[in-house]
């Protein structure tokens, strides 16, 4: 049996794009939230974490309201840039982004909070700029936690189903990610196809987790402990 591999490539593309933006935005957010105190901080924190406790259908509904052809962002993007989000792979990437952002944000915040502030303070007394301290002290020391968050986000992005189905729909070859391929193969009674994708996504998950465990041990040995 020849299997169309496009769901694999599409899932990897969706998860990679979503993880890239999750990486940038969660680091900026975690950095901002760990250094600033302001009115409404707890509320903003809860808002970032909200997708963790909401059913994916609620997130999908919210994204359709926002990015649908009649939604405020959807109509604006269509009118000014001719870009359509719903029923495209970009919609799937946005759905993945929203569900994986809180996972990454939690990991990065925990990683930043774990860093001993004396390391940053001693660097400050040496006249080093805040940006250089972030690049050379904070980020490298938080990297194991950040990487764990990245992997979780990537895995969550690959596995995203509910919100993706609502926003991107099921268009074979265009928005058919692995979880959608499994669901619709099962619905159509194509058990072999469903089993094939179940094995692929499980193997992918296992490979990712094994690599992270190996890498983390190696990093801990290299960094050592004072």
């Amino acid at each position: 049996m020849t299997q169309d591999l496009s769901p694999l490539f599409l899932s990897l593309k969706v998860a990679s794009v979503s993880t890239f933006f999750v990486f940038i935005i969660s680091i900026a957010l975690a950095r901002f939230m760990s250094r600033r105190n302001f009115f409404g901080k707890s509320f903003l924190d809860a808002l970032i974490l909200l997708p963790l406790v909401l059913p994916p259908t609620v997130i999908g509904f919210g994204l359709i309201v926002l990015f649908g052809l009649n939604g405020p962002l959807g109509s604006w993007l269509e009118q000014w840039f001719g870009v359509r989000i719903v029923f495209t792979w970009v919609g799937a990437a946005i759905a993945s982004f929203v569900v994986s952002l809180p996972l990454m944000y939690q990991s990065v915040t925990a990683a930043f909070n774990k860093i001993d502030s004396r390391w940053e303070n001693v660097a400050r007394t040496m006249g080093v700029s805040e940006w250089r301290i972030f690049r050379t002290i904070t980020f490298p020391l938080a990297w194991p936690g950040i990487l764990a968050g990245l992997i979780l986000s990537f895995a969550r992005g690959i596995g995203e189903f509910g919100a993706t189905l609502m926003v991107a729909g099921y268009i074979p070859g265009q928005t058919e990610t692995i979880p959608l391929a499994i669901y619709f193969a099962y619905e159509a009674g194509q058990m072999e196809k469903a089993a094939f994708w179940v094995i692929i996504i499980s193997a992918l998950g296992l490979a990712i987790i094994s690599w992270v465990n190996y890498w983390r041990k190696k990093t801990e040995i290299r960094i050592g402990r004072e």
Binding site: R124, T125, R225, E226
Partner: protein, 216 residues
Amino acid sequence: MLHVDFRKQLEHFELVVDFQLDNEILALVGSSGSGKTTLLNCIAGIVHPDAGSISLNGRNFFQEGNKPLKIQRRKVGYLFQDYALFPHLSVEQNILYSRPPKSDMAHITAVTKVLGITDLLPKYPHQISGGEKQRVALTRALAAKPDLLLLDEPFSALDDDTRERCQEELLRIHEIWNIPIIFVTHRQADAQKLADRVIRVEKGQMTEQLISEASL
């Protein structure tokens, strides 16, 4: 000349500080939680006083009502209690951390030689002993050419022999660089051996003592 005159409310008492220091070695003694580390942190700029002023050689670090001088611009070397070496950087990278690219290495080479840590340069902090960490941290603080050196219990984690050696090195450093040094200690002997002046801090209140009187 260092001028320190400030107040800061801590959880259980108010820290009231008022002293001046030439290029001398000052020991701060007193029981745990009496405000000694907070005093060092205020001078370094890690925390800010509620009122008063701090200045070094005419440069205002803190002046009530004005924006405090940034830590980066104070030129204060700070040796934390357990040294706070960057664990992911080698000894050499730790020492060179503050060095701008293409700057003159002569000063750092001189400090490295004085403190005898040339052999440690390729090692990582977890591969060296407590005494070696102390010397590396001191070299790192001096590499940034500070105008003032703050040491928070620098000898507390060292055995007797290493403590003795590190104290000799500190005296030598002071002789060569001739900058004010403030160190916090719990040990009467440390204060008597190293300090030109001793100030006791108890529940935020300071009293200057004769060196011979310095005891816990």
